[in-house]
């Protein structure tokens, strides 16, 4: 078994096992027919309703589901990369949720309160979101490097601080949109059209520039981590801080840079949500994207390519999950598949041992007896 297979196979097997377990769960609570139909609907919902398309020729039946899957995948990809980059530096970033929240808030503020042409407005909003996420993450990095406080505890705390301050105060208080026309809405004011990410397929789909941006960012992260000296030093610091320090690497600096980058990536995810689909800070993010990022990163083995594939796959399942509701199967089902996948991935060593045993057994039978 090659090195590449050793790193990919446990994830593939884990996802397959999770799909199997969840199929059985639906089959037990409903019946096997519903379970099969639910998985089919999930695929239609994520990859397009091909039967409807072949019947009616309506392109929208393909582009709409695919667009939803791409939007979900873009958010998962960025939060997944956030967790993965931190992981490469030996840090566990549980704070992607809080960093994303601040990114979303800043993107909404820049989008709503500044007037600029699109070519400047969108980059400025993205930059503000990335910076906000980075600052939030750097608090945890500073506490780790200066006071030795484990980042797991600080990032969890910072998540709660962000949720409390933004969702329970700013978004419903000082920053709440001015009431107009008698009905009040929660969340901040709507952003200017100049800050909205352009839709790529017009009315055919909600697919917007954010998806391409996320893919581009994944490519840049891959280049940064694996093709630059700084990226090498970050990975070296993560593999063994003492050895890296002995080799003359500024470990603390690289650690802080990685955490800042992680926060910036999560912040960008918030920007994509606001500039691409919500067009305001919606009062609460609505889903634990940051926690999803942990699963996406680990299932993708913390490698940019793996994280991209993992985000695309779960983006499709997520978008398809809403369609399963037609059958009365709860839409949180893709999350269960995701959670179980992570659980099985956590047992990576179990998989590797099982696989090695089989190989060892088959190898030993080939040894000719003297």
């Amino acid at each position: 078994m090659g090195e590449r297979w050793r790193s990919v196979l446990p994830s593939l097997l884990s996802v397959a096992l999770a799909l199997g377990v969840c199929w059985i769960a639906i089959a037990l609570t409903r019946d096997a027919e519903v379970a099969g139909e639910a998985y089919l609907q999930m695929l239609y919902g994520g990859l397009g309703q091909w039967p409807r398309y072949l019947e009616t020729g309506d392109v929208g039946t393909l582009t709409r589901p695919l667009g939803e899957a791409a939007i979900k995948a873009a958010l998962l990809l960025l939060t997944g990369l956030s967790v993965a980059v931190a992981f490469k530096a030996g840090l566990f970033n549980i704070g992607a949720q809080g960093q994303m929240l601040l990114g979303a808030l800043l993107a909404a503020l820049v989008g709503a309160h500044i007037s600029l042409p699109s070519a400047l407005h969108i980059p400025l909003a993205l930059l503000a979101a990335a910076l906000a996420g980075a600052v939030w993450a750097l608090i945890a990095a500073a506490l780790k490097l200066m006071r030795g406080v484990h980042e797991v505890i600080t990032t969890i705390m910072l998540n709660w601080v962000a949720v409390s301050l933004v969702d329970n105060w700013l978004a419903i208080g000082p920053l709440r949109a001015a009431v107009s026309g008698g009905h009040s809405i929660s969340g901040t004011a709507e952003i200017h059209p100049s800050a909205q990410l352009p839709r790529l397929l017009g009315d055919l789909s909600r697919l917007n520039l954010g998806f391409l941006l996320a893919l581009l960012v994944a490519l840049l992260v891959w280049v940064g981590l694996f093709r630059t000296r700084r990226g090498f030093e970050i990975r070296a610091s993560g593999l063994g801080a003492e050895a890296a320090r002995t080799a003359g690497i500024a470990v603390n600096r690289r650690t802080a840079e990685a955490m800042g980058l992680a926060g910036a990536l999560a912040g960008l995810a918030g920007a994509l949500l606001v500039l691409g689909t919500e067009f305001r800070y919606p009062g609460s993010l609505g889903a634990p994207y940051g926690f999803d990022g942990i699963a996406i990163a680990l299932i993708g083995n913390s490698h940019p390519v793996g994280v991209t594939l993992s985000a695309l796959f779960f983006g499709i399942l997520r978008a398809g999950g809403t369609r399963m509701q037609l059958l009365g199967v709860h839409k949180s089902f893709p999350e269960l598949i995701q959670g179980l996948s992570l659980l099985f991935v956590a047992g990576r060593l179990v998989w590797l041992t099982l696989l090695r045993k089989r190989r060892a057994v088959s190898a030993s039978t080939e040894v000719p007896r003297a």
Partner: protein, 309 residues
Amino acid sequence: MLELLEALLFSTLDAAPALIFAALGGVLSERAGVVNVGLEGQMRVGAFCAAVAALSMPTPLAVGVGMLAGAGLAMVHGYLSIRWRSDQVVSGMAINLVALAGGTFLLEALYSPNGTPPIQQLPRWELPGLGAVPVLRALSNHPGLTYLALALPFVFHALLHHTPAGLRLRAVGEKPHAVATLGLSVAGLRWGAVLGGGMLAGLGGAVLSTAVLDRFEQHTPAGLGFMALAAVVFGRWTPLGAFAAAAFFSFGNALRIGLASSAPGLLDVIPQGFLLALPYLLTLLLLTIQGQRSSAPAALGTPYEQESR
């Protein structure tokens, strides 16, 4: 004024036990060197199973079912992190995600999206002689588990610091190799701590669904498990410290709710969200001041491998 104090004390005592049990579970597991980020998931499973069990058996018995359920989920954590030396934080987060999504699915499939049907709450104990005393009256009329939650931290302190078993447990979190040299089983001690921690977290969850509420709701335990984790760190990995932190968090929460209802004007000056953030900000502040290096168990988070030194 006295009435406000009494109400605050009462609601603190009502809400604190869940947090105290879970935090003690965290202390137990982490003192033995196993990080337990999965407290939230263990609480959720405990709360769900206790509520479901209480539909068909006496509630006190159902609480036991909740404890076993918490231990069951902890067993997955133990299997991955002790037996297979997986990353303990990853395994903990994984059981959180599974408990969250799995609980949602089962709740929907078996009952309704919002919660289980109502159940018989745990009986509340009337303490004799306290009924007429102002303020102290708040100590009466709680379920028996509340009084257990007030006593257990002291029992744990005694066990952990004054018995051979407690010494071994702490040693396994500090220097597992030394414990192995003495011929004791590192894995065995850690298994005991992780399962015990899971039982306590399950108990914390069960309190929520059988005493604080009278059902399991979709959002139970709503982040209390993470708060318990904060109480463990805030309390510097000691039973009494975690107890104090859990009581402090619960009091802060009771104060926030009490202020919101009794002095609405105050919320114009201090925003609600800021009060919500306060316990977490204080935890961060305290960690900034004292640092963490000194108090965490030395082998926390490191899988035990016999070959390594």
